[in-house]
């Protein structure tokens, strides 16, 4: 891979990024050869972001941990089939996304969908804009977080995934496209529509922040 030489500063950033990518690939190739220490490094590097992604996806700490464990186990089991051409994180989050979506669908029959409006006693916005004295109380940190979570979780599946991956996992558009198996322009469109919806649903919070 040739580094661009036009802008020295940019070149440094580019090289640091490529080193990080290469490091993941290198670790995974070592795991493929049976190096347990490299697997440990990948585990310690991605346990928190992966857990955060799954926790936000399934809204259940225990289930998220089970899924995260399953993701790492599948990575290990599939180590011999790993293609070095693909970025490790794309592969990792694709496995995680598939597992999370399956878990959500399996759970659908048992309880109302996580984050759906009926799951917590009514539409999020209605509860938020309810002109009762409890509005101020709802603005406590926990409630604010619950409202944000509810708003994101009520997004359509692909929009929700795009927001979680882009906003919270800091995955770039190209990778999101690879994870969701859509084009980059589709990812841009998904994110724009998601932000438009969130902007409307969280308008009271945005106003609150402005004061």
């Amino acid at each position: 891979m040739n580094s661009p030489q036009l802008f020295p500063g940019q070149c440094v950033v580019y090289n640091v990024a490529s080193m990080a990518i290469k490091s993941d690939l290198e670790l995974m190739l070592r795991v493929r050869r049976g190096d347990a220490a490299s697997f440990e490094t990948l585990l310690s590097r991605y346990r928190v972001p992966l857990m955060g992604f799954l926790r936000r996806m399934v809204r259940d700490q225990a289930l998220a941990e089970d899924l995260a464990q399953e993701v790492f186990l599948r990575v290990y089991k599939a180590r011999e089939r790993y293609q070095p051409e693909a970025r490790f994180t794309t592969w990792l989050y694709r496995i995680a996304t598939n597992l999370a979506l399956n878990a959500i669908r399996d759970r659908k029959d048992e309880v109302p969908e996580s984050g759906s409006e009926e799951a917590e006693g009514g539409p999020v916005i209605e509860r938020f804009v309810d002109p009762q004295p409890t509005v101020e109380q709802q603005l406590m940190k926990g409630d604010r977080e619950r409202l944000i979570r509810g708003a994101v979780e009520s997004l359509p599946e692909n929009q929700r995934l795009a927001v979680l991956l882009h906003k919270y996992q800091e995955v770039d558009y190209r990778q999101i496209a690879g994870i969701l198996r859509v084009s980059e322009s589709a990812v841009k469109s998904l994110l724009f529509r998601a932000y438009e919806t969130l902007r409307l649903r969280l308008e009271p919070l945005l106003r609150e922040g402005r004061i």
Binding site: F72, L73, E145, K188, L191, G209, R210
Partner: protein
């Protein structure tokens, strides 16, 4: 004033525009309070979304992952071992079948050699009454005689009814063969002159 599309403003907040395009949007925002508010809304939304924190995995998480990996490895190893055992068992069974088949083949191919011994144990010919020349003359051809051994027992079989009744099918065939041999033996014992008289 030509305001950019909202999606273009959103792309600007996401730093997705190239430098010339981003410069044009920045210039527009300085002159357009409406578009500035839209951009401000996206940026504020980004900051509000940051409030949704998450928790780290529980302390035992890494250990559980390691345990799962080890269990998976042990399972693979056990499957491999089971495969080896299965293959070994199959090889032993095949060898056993080959040995049995070889023994059966050897037994069958050497039957004429073992017949006298069988006859010796099964037919007490030395004690049986010797047939008279007339009886010899009445003897039927060997093939017919062997058929009669089943349908109409010869004197030899009458002497040992137990042997016939208790034997398996294969033994019955062997007995038929013994009768044949016995008949030939009897023929060879007949003096030539008497045989000629009978004819």
């Amino acid at each position: 004033m030509n305001c950019p599309e909202r999606e273009r403003l959103f792309d600007h907040t996401q730093r997705l525009l190239d430098q010339p395009e981003a410069a044009r949007v920045r210039a527009h925002l300085e002159a357009c309070p409406q578009c500035s508010r839209v951009v401000d809304g996206y940026l504020r939304l980004d900051s509000v979304l940051d409030e949704w924190t998450t928790v780290e995995p529980s302390p035992g998480f890494d250990a559980r992952v390691r345990q799962a990996v080890e269990t998976s490895q042990a399972g693979s190893a056990a499957r491999g071992l089971w495969g080896l055992r299965w293959a070994g068992g199959l090889a032993l069974a095949s060898l056993g079948i080959l040995l049995v088949a070889g023994l059966v083949w050897l037994t069958r191919s050497h039957r004429p050699v073992s017949v006298p011994a069988t006859v010796a144990t099964q037919s007490p010919r030395p004690t049986a009454p010797a047939p008279t020349p007339r009886e010899v003359a009445k003897l039927t051809p060997p093939s017919v005689a062997s058929h009669q051994a089943v349908t109409a027992p010869q004197p030899v079989t009458e002497l040992e009814p137990k042997a016939v009744s208790s034997s398996e099918d294969e033994d019955a065939h062997a007995l038929e063969d013994d009768d044949l041999v016995a008949n030939f033996d009897l023929l060879s014992e007949i003096p030539k002159g008497e045989a000629r008289v009978a004819n």
